[in-house]
Symmetry: C2
Subunit: 212 residues, 2 copies
Amino acid sequence: MNPVDLTLYLVLDPDLCGGLDNMVETARIAALNGATVIQLRAPNQKKRWWLEAAQALKAVLDPLQIPLIINDHIDIALAVDAAGVHVGQSDLPPAVVRTLIGPHKILGLSTSNAEQLAAVPLALVDYIGVGPVYPTGTKLDASPVIGMDEFARLMRAKTLPAVAIGGIKQGTAAPLITAGVDGVAVVSAICGQADPAAAARQLLSEITGARS
Amino acid sequence: MNPVDLTLYLVLDPDLCGGLDNMVETARIAALNGATVIQLRAPNQKKRWWLEAAQALKAVLDPLQIPLIINDHIDIALAVDAAGVHVGQSDLPPAVVRTLIGPHKILGLSTSNAEQLAAVPLALVDYIGVGPVYPTGTKLDASPVIGMDEFARLMRAKTLPAVAIGGIKQGTAAPLITAGVDGVAVVSAICGQADPAAAARQLLSEITGARS
């Protein structure tokens, strides 16, 4: 089990962030204002872009000791020695990923329902993503929205650290924490916001407030 | 330098082939009828599909001693222990790829002009793709077509084995061989043809005829 602080998990979207340079700057600001882990997710980008982006993010995040997680592309994670990877149900299976990355990198897996939650290989995966918890415009191929009753059931059933994802913004994070999730993941609630520093601080404040 | 017989290089397109199962069968038929190397290229597919497809292709091609080359996704090549990888100018750079795959896997690199040809790192790359040599409808983001005069110049300048690609079909392969290329790569000239066995045999015959 590789530990990861899921409290405020920023998933970077290069389009929402306004391109590579702005995305890296958003990551830096978020890391300085409460983001505890940052994922790069860019399904429409080619690998050379990915490499440049991941290297630039690592240069900014390593000194701040914020782990960089690479979505889907294990080759990019290996190339830049990222802290970990995150895969979905249509990506490489956890057993294959774990073989490629070795025992000491963080491995996250997306789940959308009780069946997928029950199928998670607990010895291989470090944390699960659970969502979408709210409607989202960011991920076009997202699964059906999980209602709050079902989300609470999933939180009672889970045995791994979990981060909620999908349409979470200021004002909607607290109920998820109350339901038992370890952290919340956001995309548009920070990426592309006029004041990403304030957005990150307010989200962190809401999460820590709901925990106490 | 990892040797590879580029004579008749089939690039599989799952859509043109009619899906995964038909694609694997096309690969088998092509391998039995003259294809010397086979690449899987599927930019629109998710990684779990890639894994399944690459494993199925390896199961068919390994007994026939036909190398399987994986386009772009080094993680898939590592996961299935493919014979090699092929990357384009927007994919991971050869130096990064070579570090990930080690010294004993085939590494191919696409080039489209004299500048790219001159920039190929000769100690890292095993062969180059050169194209498009003819107009093609298969690769929507292809570079401008290389005229035959320029292609012949590139062939005189090259110092690595080269395979021509782009719109090659029966009747248009011979001039490329005459110009000095080591082999030809085809997609639609085999994938989705009514008789892929005959198509492969005829292409091979044209290539070997032009060599003599």
